[in-house]
């Protein structure tokens, strides 16, 4: 995992676990707020994709895992593609363009401990997603078996299942990175440089 978050050209120190945990809380609070807002405004009609876009943007800029940006290194290391074309002006102005340096490539590769952590985070995330799917099935069966519950949960069935499916997909995209950011201890600032007298 990286110790710094590069955002709009600014470097934010994220070596402390407390900071990373705060970021995770903020991201999930924002996603939950967005889900609530999208549902209350449009009942998912044509707007459910915004949640997935928001989750992907969170991955791109904060969480990482799938892109060069974010704190977690790409899960599946691929050598970055070299682009011959010059970057676009908006990308330069927004400082979104970062050339891939040879030194960056080494920093993008997970070592064996990080691969181990990655696999463990995915295992935990899949457990959580399994729980979400069980919840989905439970709600579906309860609504069928217990008609009073249908009155209690006012949401139409298709909206409810679509919402739960969106939440599951959001977890699928973000949870492994969030687990890594949550569990990785404070990073040592000094790189253990020793000197002989």
């Amino acid at each position: 995992m990286r110790a710094e978050l590069v955002l709009m050209g600014r470097r934010l120190d994220m070596a402390r676990r407390a900071r990373r945990r705060a970021l995770v809380v903020w991201i999930y609070a924002a996603l939950a707020g967005l889900i609530a807002a999208v549902w209350s405004l449009s009942h998912w009609h044509g707007s459910g994709a915004y949640i997935i876009w928001a989750a992907l943007i969170a991955c791109r800029f904060f969480l990482g895992g799938y892109y060069r940006g974010g704190l977690v290194k790409p899960f599946q290391y691929r050598r970055p593609m070299r682009e011959d074309a010059a970057p676009s002006l908006p990308a330069l102005k927004l400082r979104m363009y970062r050339p891939v340096l040879a030194s960056d490539e080494a920093g993008m590769r997970n070592d064996e401990r990080e691969l181990h952590q990655r696999d463990r985070a995915h295992y935990l995330a899949y457990q959580a997603m399994g729980m979400a799917v069980v919840l989905l099935a439970l709600v579906a069966s309860m609504r069928t078996v217990l008609p009073p519950l249908r009155a209690w949960i006012r949401m139409p069935a298709d909206e409810l299942y679509y919402g739960l499916a969106l939440i599951t997909l959001t977890l699928f995209l973000t949870l492994p990175q969030a687990i890594l950011m949550w569990t990785e201890p404070d990073m040592e600032q000094g790189q253990g440089i020793v000197s002989r007298e």
Partner: protein, 101 residues
């Protein structure tokens, strides 16, 4: 940990002498990490015993320090280096008497 050459077993259940060997040879974590092709944070995890290396990485560490693997990693706590060099009596006498008696 570093002063007596012992690292606690941590989560890995392995004791190691990486920190003391590194200090002895004046090698930074970053230097060692670069040679081994790992993140420097991983060296910290190894030294604290929080991560048990793969056989390949353990051999690479042994190769780097030019020592047999069992001199660096053990499942039992290492003896103090002072005990190993001067014997157990000398080690404890030095501690108790401050070298005056």
């Amino acid at each position: 940990m570093v002063d007596n050459g012992k690292a606690g077993p941590g989560e890995s259940g392995l004791f190691n002498r990486i920190a003391v060997l590194r200090a002895e040879r004046g090698v930074s974590r970053q230097d060692l990490a670069d040679v081994l092709g790992v993140n420097y944070q991983t060296i910290g995890f190894l030294e604290r015993g929080d991560y048990g290396p793969s056989l390949k990485l353990a051999f690479a560490i042994a190769e780097f320090f030019k020592l047999p693997i069992e001199a660096i990693f053990a499942t039992e706590p290492f003896r103090l280096l002072s005990e190993q060099v001067y014997g157990s009596a000398a080690g404890t006498k030095g501690l108790r008497g401050g070298g005056g008696r």
